[in-house]
Symmetry: C2
């Protein structure tokens, strides 16, 4: 047979697997069970492989069935994206917009902008996520998000637009109860090595992980978000550089104190970044608003 696979058959497979039975799937698809029997059997005949094991009462996927299901899901997703693209093409508004914020940035400035967007009641479904270190680039490149806020470092390969939103200043901060708080003057490498370092793990799933500002400590505690890192350092669990704009409260109230460190950490520029290809009206709107938003950073020098 020329073309065995049809989207309808993949949908049926998916439904049966998800709901656990032909009967339940039939109901969900507004059909009668024998219709599914027909569709499934046709696909099995065309493919030449049984997709379900019928030795028991409830049909369960064979290994071949799992294979078809898995790749079939990707195909169904692609058709949904295709239909979404057409909708965007007509209205200009993308049906879905995925925004990632790097964990170095505060959440509230983003939320303000999101609030402004939501009251406009556009036909756009928003998804927010948080990334760390190189993870923002990774998510963008891997097409898991459409827009990232607060990415830093080198531009990876690919066609991206960027816009600087300010400079990040890092200070070496410890809890006042931490032994390093007692050090007068500059903290040395030897002193650093005595205490655990708290680092934010790279959330990359595809690109190689970056390790920024790791000094060789005896112990490293890896956390997922900047919030966790700040909290860990406030509790005196370890030490490390923190973005100044995130810890103004902690510094003012004395929950953290700064020290000079032998290895200074230079300021780095934070960017908005998005894919070049055909931005929808939603993406354009967010790029405009987010680049004018006050992220409480140092204005970008260049």
């Amino acid at each position: 047979m020329a073309h065995a696979v049809t989207l309808e058959a993949l949908r049926v497979l998916e439904a049966i697997h998800k709901l656990g039975s032909f009967a339940a799937a039939a109901e969900a698809l507004f059909k009668v069970p024998s219709a599914l029997t027909y569709t499934v059997k046709k696909l099995e005949d065309d493919l030449g492989v049984p997709l379900f094991d019928r030795s028991r009462q409830r049909a369960v996927l064979t290994p071949a069935g799992h294979l078809v299901l898995e790749q079939g899901r990707a195909i169904l997703d692609a058709t949904i994206r295709l239909e979404d693209s057409i909708k965007q093409f007509e209205s200009g508004w993308e049906p879905k917009l995925r925004i990632a914020r790097d964990t170095v940035l505060l959440e509230s400035p983003l939320m303000e902008v999101v609030g402004d967007f939501l009251v406009q009641n556009r036909p756009v479904e928003l998804t927010l996520s948080e990334e760390s270190v190189g993870g923002g680039w990774d998510a963008l490149q891997d097409d898991r998000v459409d827009l990232v806020i607060g990415v830093t470092g080198e531009l990876p390969k690919g066609n991206f637009y960027t816009r600087a939103i300010g400079e990040l200043e890092f200070v070496f901060a410890v809890a006042p109860t931490h032994p390093l708080a007692l050090v007068e003057g500059v903290v040395t490498a030897a002193q650093l090595r005595q205490y655990p370092a708290i680092v934010v793990a790279d959330s990359s799933k595809k690109l190689p992980a970056r390790n920024i500002g790791i000094f060789e400590s005896r112990q490293v505690l890896r956390v997922e978000t900047m919030r966790s890192k700040i909290q860990a350092q406030c509790l005196g669990l370890g030490v490390g550089y923190l973005p100044k704009h995130r810890i103004m409260d902690e510094l003012n109230s004395g929950r953290l104190v700064t020290r000079q460190c032998e290895f200074p950490r230079p300021n780095i520029t934070a960017y908005l970044a998005w894919r070049k290809d055909s931005p929808g009206r939603g993406l354009s709107w967010f790029v405009d608003c987010l680049s004018q938003q006050d992220w409480q950073l140092i204005p970008a020098s260049v």
Copy 2:
């Protein structure tokens, strides 16, 4: 309408675009033109957008049509891959196997193995390609190849198997007519800077490009393959490190001479690498043969 796109409609779209008319596409698909009119009109109705511009005699795609075609192709490709996967699942032999050779390696040892495979007349379609520097990893990660030979350096993220095939030794070589050939003793950084460096460009399309062994020359000539680099250096266009096993002939015949260099380049291990997931019989066969093949390298120490 719930689900507008069907694979059949995408195939029709693709055929009309490729062959330039409804009539030609109909013939290719063993149908009658009015059947295509029906299919296309149905898709247009369901999507709510005209896909073809009919103001002229021959129908041409509208921008929206191009969008559907482009994404549709990806979907059709995925369905073909799905059917291929099933075939592999049944016979064990993958219908397609894509092998990349890093440009540091000789081509002939691979060709010998390929020859041995072809005489077995397996139902496997082979594709060979050449990659450079980080490009092998890139192609593997991006699923453009199934197996790479001669990748070096750090393992990127992802699930890969690797097997060492030997160590690469690099020698600093220049044409006998090159000014640096006259230097006695060790070539210094200052001397190096005087002459163009020949480097093999990273063929990566997704991962960040690696730059190995670039010393800051006034001029850099970037080439795509090791063969080009060797040739450029034989012609005295520039200098650089070359893999010793690739230039034995040139060294013996005096077309290249070696010199000591202030920056020595350590040996590096070359690997076979492939994706973990479900190797077919073809991939397994190649991994076995290729890892036993004599690549004329130094046996791996570790």
